[in-house]
């Protein structure tokens, strides 16, 4: 055996030993993930194929009702996402530039609801948006309207409630990106002749796109699978797919079909994520 062979063997041995060590170190995490995520996933999958194999999927993907609900879900998630972006972007901008105290106060206003139970907040919205809710009573009382507005048990109510819950998921990634932004860039653009609007459209906004991608993805993906808010504020009239799944399990005890719907939802979510990544990444090769 030559010297070189010895060295090669030594490094091979070392490499394998290192691999073995890291495998050992990863074992608890792997076990944890397998038991709590992978196993249920596999059970779900096998359940969805019960009976005459693909019957549940055929129903989920061809029955007009379920396809419609899936499309509605994607639509509502899109509304929520757009509303979160339109509201969240200026809020994140304010938080990123506000001087110390104001930034902290603003942050508390964003965080407090974030830490409060979704259920509590949703019931709160029912009090505000209901037929005899605060908004309608105020408007009726002041004579601005004659009949109460339908703010609940429809898409409007669901979107309002969901936006409120999901807004922080849009704000935080945007805030992170904006805080890191080099102020010199806007100054440089201005010095080179750009108006305030041009600085925003050509420099500032493109540079916040990574935050937009993160925020939009988070909000959209969470919105697709939302349950509590559409169930309560929708009053059963806004069927989103998560509501439907719950119904299958709870009311019809049809576990197989519920599993199939869940996997359709999971696939749709991953597809949306892939598309968003592709579309927004296209503009961000610089990151």
């Amino acid at each position: 055996m030559t010297e070189i062979d010895k060295i090669k063997l030594g490094s091979w041995w070392r490499r394998n030993r290192d691999n073995a060590t890291s495998m050992f170190a990863a074992t608890p995490a792997m076990l944890f993930l397998s038991l709590l995520y992978l196993l249920p996933m596999v059970l779900l999958l096998s359940q969805s194929f019960e009976g005459s194999s693909l019957q549940h999927y055929r129903k989920a993907l061809t029955d007009g009702l379920y396809v419609q609900v899936l499309l509605d879900t994607l639509m509502i998630a899109a509304y929520v996402c757009i509303a979160c972006f339109v509201i969240g972007y200026p809020v994140a901008y304010f938080l990123s530039i506000a001087p110390g105290v104001w930034s902290t106060i603003g942050m508390i206003f964003v965080l407090l609801p974030f830490w409060t139970s979704i259920l509590v907040r949703t019931y709160g919205w029912m009090v505000i948006l209901g037929r005899n809710g605060i908004i309608n009573r105020t408007l009726l009382h002041t004579g601005i309207i004659d009949t109460p507005l339908a703010l609940m048990n429809n898409i409007t109510g669901v979107v309002i409630g969901m936006v409120h819950v999901l807004l922080p998921y849009m704000i935080f990634p945007l805030y992170a990106v904006m805080r890191r932004m080099d102020k010199g860039l806007a100054m440089a653009a201005e010095g080179l002749g750009a108006s305030g609007w041009q600085v925003f459209t050509k420099i500032y906004f493109p540079l916040t796109l990574p935050g937009v991608l993160a925020g939009v993805t988070l909000v959209y993906v969470l919105a697709i699978g939302f349950f509590i808010t559409p169930a309560l504020l929708g009053g059963g009239k806004v069927p989103m797919i998560a509501v439907l799944i719950e119904q299958q399990v709870h009311t019809f005890l049809n576990w197989g079909f519920a599993s199939a719907l869940s996997l359709v939802l999971l696939t749709a979510t991953l597809a949306v994520y892939a598309v968003l990544r592709r579309v927004l990444r296209g503009n961000m090769q610089w990151t």
Partner: protein, 366 residues
């Protein structure tokens, strides 16, 4: 004759590209600019040199329009632009960290100021490729800033700042992030380009060596004021005051008292002849002499002014620096060319130091 003579004088005077007229700026109780008056001539490179906190960056921001002075005016080509926003001042600026737009390619970065001026696509493309080859970056147009080295990023920043033909080029410590060799190369390159294009430039730095290399004139700033405004040679050899003498290069500053007969007495009791402008007897003055102007004298000779021991030796390559101290604790710094090891003095060796009185420069002590 009077009118004609005046006209002639007017014509021979260089045109003023930028005037700062008694500009002041305060931040709370801190006075950043204290009544600055400054004229920058067309085509010259003027350096604002000073330690941090001297107000040089604030002055640059006021000129660029990122700060509005509390008092005073800014005139560019005799037009008052004090309240004009930066985007309307037609000033090219190179920032300390270059501030290249990370999401735009080199070409797009350089094209940016042209796009803001609604120039046709065709002209932009031509202008961009012309300027990129001028800064030696032809073929780099499609790269992103992060794919470039520090020196290349610097060139892009420079190209972007001059591509639209600005009235004025501002440089805010642009060489700070580069290593020594590259820095020297870029300094000369910037200087060459500035002279070639006849650009009027204001350059901010705290590096006095850089200022001496690059400038037509230097404004040394201290505590929001211009301490001295002159050519690099004059600043170096005839500092106006103690601050400038101390800040620019290394120097020996002696406290002395004027005595009768055109002499001054140093603190070690030696009398030195003053060459010119002799203040009244009894005045306390400062005498500045550069370390390289001192020479070794015959020990005990009439011309020897300081006799002491070598207490420190610093080898600097082509020169060698000695600190010499006499028994009264009077210290002097000398710098001589390094000739050979044999001719190098040793630590603790006794030396006598002398100088020509015309190499000595008188400054106010206060």
């Amino acid at each position: 004759m009077g009118a004609l003579a005046t006209a002639k004088v007017m014509k021979s005077l260089p045109e003023i590209a930028l005037s700062v007229v008694s500009a002041s700026r305060r931040y709370g109780s801190v006075i950043a600019l204290d009544g600055i008056d400054l004229d920058v001539r067309k085509g010259e490179m003027l350096t604002l040199l000073g330690p941090s906190g001297s107000g040089k960056t604030t002055l640059l921001k006021v000129i660029a329009g990122f700060e509005v002075p509390d008092e005073g005016e800014i005139l560019i080509d005799t037009k008052n632009v004090t309240l004009t926003p930066p985007s309307k001042r037609e000033i090219g600026m190179v920032f300390q960290n270059y501030a290249l737009f990370p999401h735009l390619t080199v070409s797009q970065n350089v094209a940016f100021p042209l796009q803001m001026r609604k120039i046709s696509k065709f002209d932009i493309a031509a202008r961009v490729s012309q300027i990129l080859s001028m800064v030696d970056l032809a073929g780099y147009g499609e790269r992103l800033p992060r794919q470039l080295s520090g020196g290349q990023q610097q060139r892009v920043a420079l190209a972007r700042a001059i591509v639209f033909g600005p009235n004025l080029l501002l440089l805010d410590e642009p060489f700070g992030a580069l290593d020594r060799k590259l820095r020297e190369q870029m300094q000369l390159e910037v200087r060459r380009l500035q002279q070639k294009l006849g650009l009027t430039a204001v350059f901010v730095t705290h590096d006095q060596e850089e200022a001496l290399i690059l400038s037509d004139r230097i404004a040394v700033m201290d505590a929001g004021k211009i301490s001295q405004l002159d050519t690099p040679q004059a600043i170096y050899h005839r500092p106006a005051n103690r601050f400038v003498a101390d800040f620019i290069g290394e120097s020996n500053l002696f406290r002395a008292t004027v005595i009768a007969g055109g002499y001054a007495e140093l603190e070690n009791g030696i009398n030195v002849k003053l060459s010119s402008e002799i203040p009244s007897t009894g005045t306390v003055i400062g005498l500045v002499i550069r370390p390289e102007r001192l020479r070794q004298a015959e020990q005990g000779s009439i011309e020897s002014k300081i006799n002491g021991l070598i207490t420190e030796i610093v080898f600097l390559g082509e020169t060698i620096k000695y600190r010499i101290r006499d028994e009264l604790g009077f210290e002097v710094l000398v710098r001589w060319p390094f000739l050979s090891n044999e001719k190098t003095l040793q630590l603790g060796e006794q030396v006598s130091i002398s100088w020509n009185h015309e190499d000595m420069h008188l400054v106010k002590w206060l």
